[in-house]
Every structure is written in C-alpha cells, then in structure tokens.
C-alpha cells in the first residue's frame, strides 16, 4: 500500500480544475472541507485575538486597558466566535467533511449540493457576525441570558442572534448529510462493525446536531422576537420566565459541548490506533460510548442551573444524570490507555497531540465531577473554576484533537508532509502554554473569583499574571502550525499515499485523492484497524 508517491502531476481534487469559480461552486466534499478550513481558521484567529485582549486586561486588577463595556463585548464575542464559528464546525466540517466519504468508501457525501449550501450558510452567518463586530458588537455573554439580552443590553443582540440562528442551519445540514451518508453510502463490505471509530463518533455528533440545534435556533428566535416586538416570553415584567430561557438554551448548549468533544475523540481513536499500530482496545465499547454520550448528553442540561433558582429535587435529578454521562467518557480514556499496552508506539506530532488530549481531557473530565456535585458547584459555579474546566475540555480536548487530526491527515489533504520537528515543537508549546494559562484558573475559581469580571480584587493578581503569561505561549503555539502548514503546501516533502502506514480506506487512495476519491469502488474484506496486516513504515517521515 505504501507506494512511493508519483512525483509527476497526478490528477487529484486540487489540480483537476483551477480558478475561483471551481472552488466557490464546487460540490466536492474535499474542496468544501478546505473552504471550511480557511473560514474557520480566520474565525479562530479573530476569537483568539479577543482572548488575548481579555488576558491582557486581566494582567492588572484595575480595569485599565479597555473600557468595561468593551471588555464585556470581548468575552461575549470571544465565546460566540469560538463556539459557533470555530469549535462546532471545526472537526466535523473540516476533517469530517474530508474524511467521512473517504472512510466509508463513498464518492462524496449523500447530498453534495446541500454540503455546499452548509458552507454558504456558514459564510452568510459569519459575514453578519463580522458586521455585528465592526459596528459595535454584542455584550450578552455567549449565553444570551434573559432578561439582560432582551430588555437591557444596548448592543447588537438581534444581529448576533440572527447570525447564530443561520450558523445553526449550516450545522444541522452537515449533520444531516453525515447521517445519511453513513447509513446509505458505505462501500460493499463496510459493515457497521467495520467502521472506523471516527465514523461512530461523527455519527453521534451528527445526531446531536440534528436534534439539538433546532432548539437553539428557536430559542434565539424567541430572544429576537422579545427584543424586537416586546413579546413577554422571558421577561418577568411582561409575564415571561427568565429561567425558561436558560432551560431552552442549555438544552442545546450542553449537548453542544459533545458536538465539540466527540469529534476530537473521533480523531483520538484513529491517531492512537495508528501510532500504537494496534486495533483500539474494546472497539465495541468505544463505539457505543459515543452513542451513550450523545443520548445521555441530552438529559443533563440543568446542571448549569444549580444556583439559578430551580427546585431542590430537579437539581438532585440533574446531578445524578450528569454522573451517568461521565461514565462513557471515562470508558474512552481507559480504552485509549489500554490500547497503548503492548503497542509499538512512535512519537509523531499527531501522537503528541493525542497524549496531550488524553491528559487534558482527563483533567477536564475530572473537574467536571466537581461541577456535577451539588455541594461543590454552589461555591465554584460562575467562577474561574468553570472557565478552567470547560477550556480543558474545549481547548485542551477539542482544539488539541483538531490540531492532532489536521497534522495526521495533512499528507492526505495537501499531498505534502509538514515539517515534523516544527510540528513537535508547536505541540509542546501548545501543551505547556495551555496548562500555564488555565491551571491557575482552577485555583482562582476556588478562591472565589467570579467569571466575566473586568476588574478584580488585588489578591487574585498573581494567578492572573501566570494565566496571561501562559496565553502568550499558547498564541505562539497556535500561530506556528499555520505558518508551517502554509509553507509545506509549497515546500513540504511530497507525501506518499500512506505515509504513516495507517489502516483505513482513506489511506488506500492517492494523496491527495482524486475528485471521486477512489479509482474503483473499494470492497472491504477486513476488520477496522487491521494493523497486523499493514507493514509499519521504516521511518515515520521524520526529518531529523
């Protein structure tokens, strides 16, 4: 399989057609994945820029760098950009888009035009949101809590709401496309039990996108209606109920956490299998735990509301249900660890990200136990403890997963190798910078520093300075890959079809793949992760 790459221009999805039109009107899932890659990278740096300003403001206890209102907009827009315009589309719309048809052995997604429509919806939403940013921004927090958002904020709530409403449909359509593709387009012999775990996790993600996102869309529409037409839905002075908003919002927004983390788990399974050269330990349990997370994830939303004024007994029920969803997550961590046992482990960049992912996700998951625990949550709720916890999951978990996946499949996507040495350096910088940024925030949280504070009492300063220092390292760690990925597109070593010696249909076609993915329809006669049948590459493309 690991044939030497043809150096001459072999026809592939990148060079088959040229010109802006061939990109903007493409229905090729791989090209659409690249369109997404460019768009979400842009938003990632927008959101990251906001984050840096937040950290710089918090360097000193006094509110001095920006005005209070500006600060409130910064954290609101940081959250909304990162969640709705980066994390939610990140792995599904880029790697998922590129890989789902390849991995199941299909020519494209089930609905190629709808796939392009998803990207256009995303771009429309993104443009509206950018317009919202440059014309004043929004200051509701990413959570839009009522009645602040509907009756008190003087910022562009309606515009932001409509923008995220539209982005939601992009996400729904992507989910729909994946579900149908996975059900209907698998190659002959590709049974459910032979699917890569990436596909299982992506399937679970798509289910959440399909079932959850409409609720967010409706909720945001209600916010827009209450604000624009004075309806009394959430505002108590008009007969509404502000807690109703929180229930509806978290009904989507808690499962949304799994939209962000499940795909990272998807990447994790592929990378760990490849660089231990083993079938994932407990395939069935890992596959089913993805489905379990998707199902239980819908039943835990009110753990965001333990101090919001819900009844004592509701809180008890949601606390116990929250522990149920922790079990499948734990199962995954144990299985990845067990996969390493008696493996043949190499330390490539994707694997370094995978190690980082397990470490940070474990810490994020364990601190989730603190927050699901009623007695402790009352104290740490709405403090920096929560901030640290969800950044461990969503940056430590989801972004590490995304970056690891991007490195792993970069040879397939671009046909070139990234520089391995730089890759490892960036992975280490991200890991170190991340921990320095967010670990001190756990301590800050237990000390009692509330989130969304523009100024804070002086005793919190030391830990905040550490956190800000970490964020600058993290920033370098994020800029580096962008630089060397761009560099590698021109100067990188030509990648072979299967540079890692990896299992999976995507590695059986050329790098980059032809427009319709496979020269002839593949027929699957082997189980997933058949590493015993694939020779390990002599040298894992390391530039020493």
């Amino acid at each position: 399989m690991a044939t030497v790459a043809v150096t001459a221009e072999r026809e592939n999805y990148l060079n088959q057609e040229y010109g802006i039109r061939s990109w903007l009107l493409t229905t090729d899932h791989k090209r659409i994945a690249l369109l997404y890659l460019i768009s979400i990278t842009f938003f990632f740096f927008v959101g990251g820029f906001f984050a840096l300003l937040i950290r710089l403001e918090l360097l000193t206890p006094a509110g001095d760098l920006v005005q209070a209102d500006t600060y409130n907009k910064l954290f609101s827009m940081h959250g909304q950009v990162m969640i709705f315009f980066f994390l939610i589309p990140s792995i599904p719309a880029v790697l998922g888009n590129f890989l789902v048809p390849l991995m199941v052995g299909a020519k494209d997604l089930a609905f190629p035009r709808i796939n392009l429509l998803s990207w256009y919806l995303y771009m429309i939403a993104g443009t509206i949101y950018l317009h919202c940013i440059v014309t004043g921004g929004v200051d509701t927090g990413w959570t839009f809590y009522t009645p602040f958002s509907t009756a008190f904020s003087n910022t562009k709530v309606i515009e932001a709401g409509i923008s995220i409403f539209i982005a939601g449909f992009s996400s729904i359509l992507t989910g729909l496309n994946f579900v149908v593709t996975i059900h209907r387009m698998r190659a002959p012999g590709m049974t459910w039990s032979r699917l890569p775990l990436f596909i299982w996790a992506m399937y679970a993600t798509s289910i959440i996108q399909l079932l959850g996102t409409p609720v967010l869309a409706i909720t945001l529409l209600l916010v827009v209606f209450e604000r624009a037409f004075n309806l009394g839905i959430f505002d108590p002075t008009r007969g509404g109920d502000p807690l109703l908003f929180q229930h509806l919002f978290w009904f989507y927004s808690h499962p949304a956490v799994y939209i962000m983390i499940l795909p990272a788990m998807a990447v994790e399974s592929e990378v760990v299998a490849c660089f231990t050269r083993k079938r994932i330990f407990g395939y069935n349990f890992v596959a089913m735990s993805s489905i379990a997370i998707a199902v239980f994830g819908f039943l835990v939303w009110a753990h965001h509301m333990f101090v919001a004024g819900i009844s004592l007994y509701a809180a008890l029920i949601f606390s116990i249900l929250s522990y149920l969803v922790a079990v499948p997550s734990a199962i995954k961590v144990f299985n990845w660890t067990a996969t390493m046992y008696k493996g043949s482990i190499s330390f490539t960049t994707p694997m370094l990200y995978a190690f980082g992912f397990i470490g940070l996700f474990t810490m994020g998951g364990l601190t989730g136990l603190f927050l699901a625990c009623l007695g402790v949550d009352v104290h740490v709720h709405d403090t920096y403890f929560v901030i640290a916890h969800f950044h461990y999951i969503m940056v430590g978990g989801a972004v590490m997963g995304y970056l690891g996946g991007l490195h792993f499949w970069w040879p397939k996507i671009s046909g070139r190798m990234y520089p391995e040495g730089w890759g490892r350096l960036a992975a280490l910088l991200v890991f170190a910078g991340f921990n320095l940024t967010f670990f001190p925030q756990f301590i800050l949280g237990y000390m009692g520093m509330p989130r969304r504070y523009w100024q804070y009492p002086p005793e919190f300063q030391v830990l905040n300075v550490l956190s800000t220092a970490g964020s600058t390292i993290l920033a370098i760690g994020y800029v580096l890959p962008m630089v060397y990925f761009l560099w590698s597109m021109r100067y990188g070593k030509i990648a072979s079809d299967n540079p890692w010696g990896a299992a999976g249909l995507e590695w059986k076609t050329s790098s980059p793949p032809p427009t319709f993915n496979f020269e002839e329809e593949p027929e699957v006669t082997w189980e997933a992760y058949n590493y015993e049948q694939i020779p390990a590459p002599a040298e894992v493309n390391v530039e020493r």
Binding site: A68, N72, F148, F152, P236, T237, P242, T276, R277, K278, R279, F281, G282, A308, G309, L312, L316, S319, Y323, A330, V333, F334, N335, T337, A338, M340, Y341, K342, G343, S344, S346, F347, F355, I358, G359, T362, T367, L369, F370, A372, C373, G375, V376, V378, H379, H381, D382, I443, Y446, G448, P450, R451, R452, Q455, P457, E459, Y531, E532, A536, V540
Partner: protein, 328 residues
C-alpha cells in the same frame, strides 16, 4: 489548617468546612486518577516505544475490564453525588427561626434591609453565630449573591424571591460578589459582609438610623394603599383575612392548593387574578408597577408578621427542619 494558606479561601461560615472537605476529597481522587493514568501512559510509551523488529501485539479487548472500569467509577460517582446532595440539601433549607434579611439587587448595587428596619447598601452586617436567611429579588436583570468565605451562592431573579442562608462563624470582613453577569459594571457590583461579635453587632444596630421595623413600615403601607378596607382582621371582608396565612396551604378557585410563601404573597399583590383563593371574587386591583421592590418586601414582611412562627415541630410544609450543623 488552610486559613493561613494564601491559595485557599477563608472559611467563615458553618457548612463551609463541609464544602471544603468534599472538595479536598474530590481533589485527592482526581490527583490519584490523573497520576494513575499518566503513569500508565508514561510506562507504556517508554516500554512499548517502537523498536525495529518488534511488532505490536493485537488485543481485542476485555469485557471484564470494561465492566470493571464502568461499574467502579459509577460507584464512586454515586458516593460523590450523595455527599454533594447532602450538603446542597442543607444549603437550600434555611432554619425556620433564622433572622431574615431582605435583599434587592439592581444594576449595579446591593440593597439590603434588616427586619429591624435598618437599610444598607453594598454592605451587610451580621453577628457571629446567628442563622441569617436572605430573601432576595432583583429590580432588573439576573444577579447572583456570592460570598466565597461562606461558600454560598444564589442567583437573584427579577419577578420572584429566591433564598439563601448562612451562619457566620468568624468575625471579619468578607467579599460579596455578584457572580451572574449583569451588564457594564458587573465587576463593580461588589460589596462586603461584616461579621461581628454579638455585642458589637447590637451596638452597631442601635447606632443605625431607622424608621421602625420592616413589618411596621409594611403595616403603614398596608393602610396607605387601602389594603385594609378589604383584608380585615375583625370581620370577614371582601378579601381573605391575612392573619395566620403565611406558611399555610391555601385552596385556590382553580382547584390548586398552594403554600402561602413569600413568592405566593408577592404574586398575589402584583397580579392577584392569577391566584384567587376559593370563595373570593377577582376584585383586587393589580399592583404590578405600582409598588417598588422595597415596598413589596415591607408588605411581605408585614403579612408574615401576622402569622406567628409555629411552635414546636408541628405542621407547616414550607418551614424547614432545623439545620444539622453543630452550634459553634
């Protein structure tokens, strides 16, 4: 032991120790789990690093292991759940003889009123060792009353009362934070809770200027607004007699039976038509927008004062059991 450790919050209320104990348990458990997993990864990564000529050994999995590492964590989780639930239950059930303080939050300040009538802004003075129940509402958006030293937090909502309680154990001055984002000066909505020795507190209380107790000002409002023309105490008026109402069940015209708590009384004043007691006509005027939150708290305090607290451990569903903390 952590009181002098600068990375740990001060502990100044009964119950704070329980939260810390559970937190330390969780920290220990997490540290142990992290250590176990990281050690395993490190050992495997070293021992099984790729070597020429050494192939990975394919292992399918093990149902026994899978079941073990599902059931055992689940068991531990249930212990954490129960422990946390027990603490939460105590935090959510104020002792019935607690001193009541009314809190009105607004962008961006805390207004607090003692039963004795004394008002404070962004400051709360309480004596050591006394149970204090906060009855809180907001004039505008959602706020949250957070005192890290007491380990208590409760969102303060517009349009209803939420409650919290604490018993301070250590004299000192502690942060009061608004922890629910509420607009421009959210981070400026900071106050302080001053915990004093009882004697000092009495001195402070008598030094304050007050126009009479909260219930008394509620009484005069009750006359001013004309409530007393229908709600009579001598004969049956056109409205229900309010003596002995608070804390007891009320049968409503639509068939529901509710306990007359603070939120019920509040709702009855603001929009009476939603809760017509059975046998009465919907003739009471709507006071939504006519009384301020402060006037409302005075009225509620007055109506509560018409029902002497029940003696001993008899009836009354809304009244909570005594807390289980040992008196310090």
């Amino acid at each position: 032991m952590f009181d002098n450790f600068p990375l740990w919050p001060v502990r100044a209320a009964a119950g704070a120790g329980n939260v810390d104990a559970l937190y330390i348990f969780l920290l220990t458990l997490s540290a142990f789990m992290c250590l176990a997993i990281f050690t395993m990864i490190l050992v495997f990564a070293t021992k099984y690093r790729r070597r020429p000529g050494v192939e990975a050994e394919q292992i399918e999995g093990s149902s026994a292991l899978e079941i073990t590492w599902s059931i055992v964590p689940m068991g531990i989780f249930m212990v954490i759940f129960l422990w946390g639930a027990a603490i939460y239950f105590q935090e959510r059930t104020p002792p019935r003889d607690a001193t009541e303080v009314y809190v009105v939050a607004k962008q961006w300040m805390w207004k607090l009123q003692h039963q004795e009538g004394l008002r404070e802004i962004n400051e709360l003075h309480v004596p050591v060792g006394r149970d204090v129940k906060l009855i809180m509402t907001s004039q505008d958006v959602i706020h949250s009353f957070y005192v890290p030293a007491f380990r208590i937090k409760q969102d303060v909502l517009p349009g209803r009362y939420t409650t919290a309680w604490f018993r301070a154990t250590k004299p000192g001055v502690y942060h009061l934070f608004c922890s629910q984002y509420c607009g421009t000066m959210h981070s400026g909505m900071i106050g302080q809770v001053t915990v004093m020795e009882p004697a000092q507190y009495e001195a402070w209380l008598s030094g304050g200027i007050t126009t009479g107790s909260l219930a008394a000002s509620g009484d005069s409002l009750f006359q001013q607004l004309g409530c007393s023309t229908c709600h009579r105490f001598d004969i049956q008026g056109r409205g229900p007699n309010l003596v002995g109402l608070f804390g007891h069940p009320v049968h409503l015209e639509d068939g529901r039976t509710v306990i007359a708590d603070e939120n019920y009384i509040r709702q009855c004043i603001l929009s009476p038509h939603t809760n017509i007691p059975s046998g009465f006509k919907p003739i009471m005027p709507v006071f939504q927008g006519l009384v301020s939150e402060e006037q409302l708290t005075a009225l509620v305090a007055y109506i509560k004062s018409l029902s002497p607290p029940p003696v001993g451990g008899q009836s009354g569903i809304s009244v909570a059991p005594k807390p289980q903390y040992p008196k310090e």
